[in-house]
């Protein structure tokens, strides 16, 4: 298979979901079963193609970056910039090939799962079409080769997440959550956009390769390393928004208001992965300072989210915060320079987190039906305190859920162990290189917390006793369309798919396929180089593995001791540490903080603008209008009452009388003028005198009444008469007149032909 064929196939994969979107959004009501088979079928075809592309890329062209671009718009020669063109381009390297498979795998299995989960939904067909555009947007981010296309698809992801989270928009919490996700993401995107603009101002191109290539040869934005760091951090802001990093992580837990399969899609393979993927793509331009910033943001996010996850009782909320925490891990991994490990964790996490969400969906589905069956509408089907003992009733869900939990906790033989271990080793190496030991410490602590809260979730949901036996009786395993995806994801959570060595991924195909790119920033600002880093990594590897095993084991043990053996009372601890517990339960009060600062602040600014608009702008407009009105009214009144008319009349007749008198006076002295002129002047004088007499003695009124009014009336009568004649065609409807005008135009056409 040639490189061109691969690119063509990638483009086909990209556009298949869009096709599904277009077909379904227009025709879902006309298709049998609202077209779910169509969307799912298209997704699986795309998955098959993605697997073909993936294998071909990794076997035939393991080291090439295949790309192609075409000019889309040319703005010609723009002053100050030069030739300005926008290019459409796609790029297929190993990372993109892996990501294609991950996205399509999760997306197609989510499609399949949704057939069962969304059965009977009001907007069933529309839901599937939205899944299509979501997948399309994400694939666009994956295979683009330039910043501006990435930004376009980036915003498309924002839009489609908005549509999907707000799928049940009748519920206020859902529509609020969709708006929140959209707006919070925009905050990050402003940074992303500014970063792109900084790069563009310097490099005059959007292409990754050209930018990094030029940067390699020493050109950096505005010739300043600070600007380069700033550009890196600003671009990372986009990832902060999309990948729900601190401080913009607040949208993600609320996004749980969307349907559960959507949560799986958003949190595993699309949206949140986009941010991490983008950081990986732009890794080469990140300076050491920018990477440190990224690493700290990741670590802080991982820590905050993990502590919140401990205190949550809603099954999806726990998973949501665990996602935020794991995303923090990935970002931290990228930040410390463990590039391959960060991306590796993105892939493995996609598998088990999609599985966890779909598993929770399966549980919620079953709980919902059982509660519905019992006529109970008060019990929350998502609250883990209402669950327990589901193990026997839902075996497939339970066993798969167990595997995912083991994977996310980092138990050996799972994929999660491999990737998490790599990240932790990387962070330890980073600590030893730079002295920032806080990052590995947080990393290991969070690993323990993760194991603890995930096993808490597992124990409370599936083990122990169920509170209500009748309800438990009504709980059934989910249909086949929902269990098959669970099994697939569970299988993919084993180590063997990523590396044959269960205790180290370094030699596995994955880590070798996605090597860390060479940094293109100036050597003085770059982070530790690849050799140096690998050297440190080599020393920290064993200790990191032992430590991570230790903390994960501790976490699991504590979870068992607390929730299974009940040796430790969770309630007692919660009461003893009441303020801390409350702090975690309320998610560190981030929402309240933002409400009090940004939302209130915006409201205040809006109120100020409103005042300005109403008082100042409207005041000016209204004042002008009122002034014009007053002037017009004044003039009109004077005319109608005859005042001005009378004045003008008097002035005119006065002037005429004076002129007549002067001319008559001239006529008295005939020696200077001819007789003819005298007679002429006399006639004028006579006429003026007669007129004056007429005006003053016969009276203006008479003239007005008889002559003027008579003429006016005559005109009116004539108009009335002709009006009567033409009344037939005067329907009073504007469209009739237009028709006549048109007829006239056509006659003219024929006339002057």
């Amino acid at each position: 298979m040639s490189q061109e064929t691969l690119l063509t196939l990638s483009v086909v994969i990209l556009f298949l979901p869009l096709l599904s979107f277009v077909l379904l959004i227009f025709f879902n009501k006309r298709l049998p079963k609202q077209g779910d088979w169509l969307g799912t079928g298209i997704a699986f075809v795309a998955l098959a193609l993605a697997i073909v592309v993936f294998f071909t890329k990794l076997t035939q062209f393991p080291n090439e970056t295949i790309q192609a671009s075409a000019e889309w718009v040319s703005f010609g020669n723009v002053p100050g910039i030069g030739q300005l063109t926008l290019d459409l381009g796609i790029m297929l390297d190993n990372m993109a090939a892996v990501m294609l498979v991950v996205v399509m795998l999760v997306s197609s299995l989510v499609h399949l799962f949704s057939i069962g989960y969304m059965h009977g939904d009001v907007r069933y067909g529309r839901y599937f079409s939205y899944l299509g555009i979501f997948t399309f947007s994400m694939l666009g981010i994956v295979i683009t080769n330039n910043f501006w296309m990435m930004y376009v698809f980036w915003e498309l992801v924002g839009l489609s997440s908005y549509l999907l989270i707000g799928h049940w928009f009748e519920k206020k919490s859902a529509s609020d959550a969709s708006k929140k996700a959209f707006i919070v993401n925009r905050v990050g995107d402003i940074g992303f956009f500014t970063g792109i603009m900084i790069l563009y101002a310097t490099f005059h191109t959007f292409s990754f390769d050209s930018i990094f290539g030029t940067m390699q040869s020493g050109t950096i934005p505005f010739g300043s390393e600070t600007w380069l760091t700033a550009a890196g951090i600003l671009i990372f802001c986009g990832a902060i928004g999309k990948s729900a990093q601190f401080p913009l992580h607040v949208w993600l837990p609320d996004a749980m208001e969307g349907p559960t399969p959507v949560s799986a899609l958003i949190h595993a393979a699309t949206m949140v992965a986009a941010g991490v993927y983008m950081v990986a793509r732009t890794f080469a331009m990140m300076t050491g300072d920018a990477l440190m910033f990224i690493a700290y943001i990741g670590a802080i996010t991982a820590f905050i989210a993990a502590t919140i996850a401990i205190a949550q009782n809603d099954i999806k909320k726990v998973l949501a915060y665990s996602t935020v925490s794991q995303l923090g891990y990935m970002v931290m991994g990228l930040g410390v320079g463990a590039y391959s490990a960060g991306f590796f964790h993105l892939t493995t996490h996609a598998m088990f987190k999609a599985g966890l969400f779909l598993g929770s969906g399966s549980v919620i589905h079953a709980m919902h039906h059982a509660l519905h069956h019992a006529g109970d509408h008060h019990t929350d089907p998502q609250d883990i305190r209402n669950m327990g003992g589901l193990k026997s009733k839902m075996p497939v869900t339970y066993w798969t859920f167990l595997i995912y939990t083991l994977a996310i906790s980092g138990v050996p033989l799972t994929s999660g162990f491999l990737s998490k271990d790599e990240i932790l080793a990387g962070s330890l190496a980073y600590g030893s290189l730079t002295g920032h030991y806080l990052i590995p410490i947080i990393g290991f602590f969070v690993a323990g917390l993760t194991a603890f809260y995930m096993f808490r979730l597992l124990i409370l949901t599936f083990w122990g006793e169920h509170k209500d036996h009748h309800r438990l009786e009504a709980i059934h395993e989910s249909p086949r369309t929902m269990t098959i995806p669970l099994i697939v994801f569970a299988v993919l959570s084993f180590f063997a798919f990523y590396s044959f060595n269960p205790f180290g991924a370094t030699d596995g195909w994955f880590m070798n396929a996605v090597p860390r790119p060479v940094s293109s920033v100036p050597a003085t600002t770059a982070a530790a180089g690849i050799e140096e880093f690998n050297e440190a990594l080599h020393y920290s590897h064993t200790s990191a593995m032992l430590l991570s095993l230790l903390v994960a084991g501790t976490g699991i043990l504590v979870a068992f001791a607390t929730y299974y053996w009940k040796k430790i009372s969770a309630d007692n601890i919660a009461t003893t540490l009441a303020p801390v517990h409350k702090f975690f339960l309320n998610k560190w009060y981030f929402d309240e903080l933002y409400q009090a600062t940004f939302v209130k602040g915006t409201d205040g600014i809006a109120a100020a603008y409103r005042w300005f608009d109403e008082k100042i702008i409207d005041g000016i407009v209204n004042g002008t209008a009122r002034w014009t009105k007053a002037v017009t009214l004044g003039t009109k009144n004077n005319w109608e009452e005859g005042n001005i008319g009378a004045i003008i009349y008097l002035v005119v007749s006065g002037v005429i009388s004076i002129y007549a008198g002067w001319v008559t006076g001239n006529a008295i002295w005939p020696e200077e003028i001819t007789v003819l002129l005298a007679i002429w002047n006399g006639l004028i004088a006579l006429g003026v005198a007669g007129l004056t007499f007429f005006l003053f003695y016969v009276g203006v009124g008479g003239f007005d009444n008889r002559i003027v009014d008579g003429m006016v009336n005559l005109t009116a009568y004539a108009a009335g008469f002709f009006g009567l004649l033409t009344r037939k065609v005067q329907t009073g409807k504007v469209q009739t007149y237009i028709a006549w005008v048109l007829l006239g135009v056509m006659v003219f056409f024929l006339w002057f032909r």
Binding site: G732, K733, V734, Q735, I738, A739, L742
Partner: protein
């Protein structure tokens, strides 16, 4: 017949003009028949678009200069102004008469 088919295969000035002519007639039809004032407006927009196609087609195929395009820009500008004013009037009428059917309001004030 063959000649006609060949003509069909090579779009040129006449093709664009014919498209615009039909679009124009469609717009005129909407203006003539629809009772809803907003539908009438949509007809007007179609007419303006048809006219613009003509301007630009002549600019491309006949004059070979950009003057036609400049005129088209002015047409678009005026169309925007027209739409704004017309919709403002429609809204006002709706507030006063509670209808937007052009054959139901026949007074300038209520």
């Amino acid at each position: 017949m063959q000649e006609f088919l060949n003509w069909l295969k090579t779009p040129g000035l006449t093709h664009f003009l014919i498209v615009s002519g039909i679009l124009f007639s469609l717009g005129v039809f909407a203006v003539l028949t629809r009772r809803n004032a907003i539908m009438v407006l949509m007809g007007i927009e179609l007419i303006l678009n048809a006219a613009n196609i003509n301007f630009i087609a002549f600019s491309r195929y006949s004059t070979g200069t950009l003057d036609g395009q400049v005129i088209a820009i002015f047409v678009i500008i005026l169309a925007a102004a027209e739409a704004a004013i017309a919709l403002a009037i429609v809204l006002n009428i709706y507030q006063n008469f509670n209808t937007v059917n052009v054959d139901e309001f026949n007074r300038l004030r209520d």
